[in-house]
């Protein structure tokens, strides 16, 4: 139970950070935190049954559900791609506007959108 509560807190921290933080780099951090909370949720939920790592060898018994782990490997890769791309875009935004504040970026680009 305690791990679920901690994960919900982690999830909410991420979600709050994306919405409330003005700095776009912090927003990207928050997205990573949000993503990680769901990754850990999958792993903890998948390990409810069994105790051993799902490596199919002689003598290994009582393994955890391998599917969530396989899924999360994919999700981690996607998360890394998104973080990298978001950071690249943030860098370009900084070069154009010389600020990382989302509201200031909005204002600067709103006046001359093209």
């Amino acid at each position: 139970m305690i791990e679920q509560i901690l994960l919900i807190i982690l999830f909410l921290i991420g979600f709050w950070g994306i919405i409330a933080k003005k700095n776009i780099i912090k927003k990207i951090f928050a997205l990573s935190i949000l993503n990680s909370s769901v990754l850990i949720l999958y792993i903890t939920e998948g390990s409810k049954i069994g105790t051993n790592a799902p490596i199919m060898e002689e003598g290994v018994k009582n393994v955890v559900d391998p599917v969530p782990q396989a899924l999360m490997l994919t999700a981690i890769v996607i998360g890394v791609c998104i973080t990298a791309l978001a950071l690249a875009i943030a860098f370009r935004l900084y070069r154009y506007t010389h600020t990382l504040d989302i509201d200031k970026i909005h204002r600067k680009l709103h006046d001359e959108p093209f």
Partner: protein, 578 residues
């Protein structure tokens, strides 16, 4: 490797093409690299056409090819299903992608990065249309997303980076909620394929109860965000308006519809899916009307078109939602679904055409403001178009979206109003049609000559660049498709219906009588009302109202607020209905 593995060709050929693009650049230089790049694009966008037409007779006769990737056993491997729906969506994707790619030859963006990403996006479109596995759907949607963030930003406009960033953040957050929903369904049923989940939920007491319902609503909300239904549309206008023109055509034409049709597969078999479809249908009708009102208020040409995409996707979603509610196996549901797909296809054609022609015009004129740009026809003439191809193509597109016979927009809107048969949605869509007419009269004004010819305008002095041949070819191609699909609309509706019903022979056309007096009368009323509406909004107070709508506050937080509210509303609705 068996015979039916050929259904993977529309996914693997573009991926192979994008790999070849990189290889060509790494190992060769100059002419050879160009040659390899073009042949790679031909492999990616050209060869799948042969496969599609080879498969058409099988699909028309009602065969559904279902395969598990890598020959794993069913419970573990990823299931792909190639049926009529998949064929139609993939056909549409390749049609628009091919036309858009030809356009980029003349107007950019060019280069290896662009071509490779564009091909990956096309592959992901095909995969999204075929997949029958919930986690694979997540991966496909993420690939579609990541490629579109890159392609939107590739126009190198500062605003495009902001649009891309907003889209990335909202969509990545939505996909996290998708994953949470996926975990809920996986925990209940222990499987990821749609059929497995549906079968698993059926044997659970109370069909999985509240966990299943909340999980499904999280998944539906995340996909609805991609489709840009009403409360979740905020990311779209900037992204579509600031992307390169060819990419706008693909994004508006195909990319927002593919997740919708992929969602069909989930909603028709999972318990509670019907209610989600019903609510999305209602939201779609509202989207059609609100989208067009905001579109009418815009002053940037491409943003006006982007809001029209929202409005038109509202038409599609409202018919689609009603079809899911009625059930695809019933005649009424099938008619609605046919109308929804016809409008999706025709919208892709005419909206793609509009984005390309407006893009050509505004690039040449160096001005995108509807109120400032005038005399664009003359500018195009001075840009080297002795025969006004772009102007005529724009007119075809504009008349099609205004639903003037015999163009294709008329056929699909008649199909929609026939399928709705006088329910309240029909009246909402009719009202939205009036707004569409008014706003396209407003947009057409950029081609009207200036009032004073010798007005000193610095923009008309120099014409940057010319209209190139490939730009004209892709515009003419789409314009011809618009006219042809309008003329042969009844026959096309039969084919689409047959494909969507997986080969059931049904000779009722949608609508049964396309050029009936009633339909023509309706068109006349819409056009007249549209002109009146245009005159009203051209007055001083009308312009004030429009600028209020245009300058309504929009910010980054608003995107997340509307997403959270939309998701919450959907969850409450589904708990209430179950």
């Amino acid at each position: 490797m068996s015979h039916s593995d050929i259904i993977f060709a529309p996914i693997f050929l573009p991926l192979l093409g994008s790999a070849l693009v990189f290889c060509g650049k790494s190992f060769f230089k100059g002419r050879k690299a160009k040659l390899i790049e073009y042949s790679a694009v031909f492999i990616g966008l050209g060869l799948p056409w042969i496969v599609l037409f080879y498969l058409l007779p099988f699909i028309l006769s009602g065969t559904t090819i279902q395969l598990v990737i890598g020959n794993w056993f069913g419970g573990v491997g990823i299931i792909y299903r190639f049926d009529g729906l998949a064929w139609l969506v993939i056909f549409l994707g390749f049609l628009i992608a091919s036309a858009a790619w030809i356009y980029t030859l003349g107007a950019g963006p060019r280069g290896l990065g662009f071509n490779a990403i564009f091909l990956i996006q096309t592959a992901a479109l095909a995969a999204t249309a075929m997949t029958a596995d919930l986690f694979n759907l997540f991966v496909c949607l993420e690939i579609l997303g990541i490629t579109s963030y890159v392609l939107i930003a590739s126009s190198e406009k500062p605003g495009a980076f902001l649009a891309s960033f907003s889209y990335l953040m909202i969509s990545a957050t939505a996909m996290v909620f998708f994953l949470v929903g996926l975990l809920g369904l996986y925990r209940l049923t222990g499987t990821l394929s749609y059929e497995g989940i549906a079968a698993g939920l059926k044997i659970l007491p109370g069909e999985g109860g509240i966990t299943a319902i909340v999980s499904l609503s999280l998944i539906v909300a995340a996909i609805a965000m991609r489709v840009a239904v009403m409360p979740l549309y905020g990311w779209l206008p900037d992204a579509h308006a600031l992307a390169p023109h060819a990419i706008s055509a693909v994004l508006s034409g195909v990319l927002i519809k593919t997740p919708l049709f992929a969602l069909t597969r989930i909603l028709i078999i999972l318990p509670g899916g019907i209610e989600a479809g019903r609510l999305m249908g209602y939201a779609g009708a509202a989207t059609a009307l609100v989208g067009v009102i905001i579109a009418l208020a815009q002053k940037d040409t491409k943003r006006l078109l982007a809001y029209h995409s929202i409005s038109q996707i509202g038409y599609i979603v409202s018919a689609w939602g009603a079809a899911v509610t009625a059930g695809l196996s019933t005649p009424a549901g099938l008619t609605l679904m046919t109308a929804a797909f016809l409008h999706a296809m025709y919208h892709a054609l005419f909206k793609g055409l509009l984005f390309l022609t407006i893009g050509t015009t505004t690039d040449l004129a160096g001005e995108r403001d509807v109120y400032k740009l005038r005399g664009a026809a003359i500018i195009l003439y001075r840009g080297g178009e002795k025969f006004p191809v772009t102007l005529l193509c724009f007119l075809v597109g504009a008349l099609a979206i205004m639903a003037i016979p015999p163009l294709n927009g008329y056929a699909s809107k008649a199909a929609l109003s026939y399928a709705f048969k006088g329910s309240w949605q029909a009246s909402v869509l009719f009202a939205a049609g009036i707004g569409t007419t008014a706003s396209f009269i407003k947009l057409s004004r950029i081609y009207w000559p200036q009032k004073k010819i010798n007005q000193s305008s610095p923009k008309t002095g120099t014409i940057p660049g010319k209209v190139s041949g490939s730009v004209q070819i892709s515009q003419i191609f789409l314009a011809i498709m618009c006219i042809a699909s309008g003329i042969f609309a009844s026959r096309i509706s039969l084919i689409v219906k047959k494909l969507l019903s997986n080969g059931i022979i049904d000779t009722n056309r949608v609508p049964p009588n396309l050029f009936s007096i009633q339909n023509l009368e309706k068109t006349a009323i819409t056009v007249t009302a549209g002109i009146v509406l245009f005159l009203i909004v051209s007055t001083g107070s009308g312009k004030k109202i429009l600028s209020l709508i245009r300058n309504r506050p929009r910010n980054f937080q608003g995107l997340f607020l509307s997403f959270s509210l939309g998701m919450f509303g959907l969850t409450l609705w589904m708990i209430y209905k179950s």
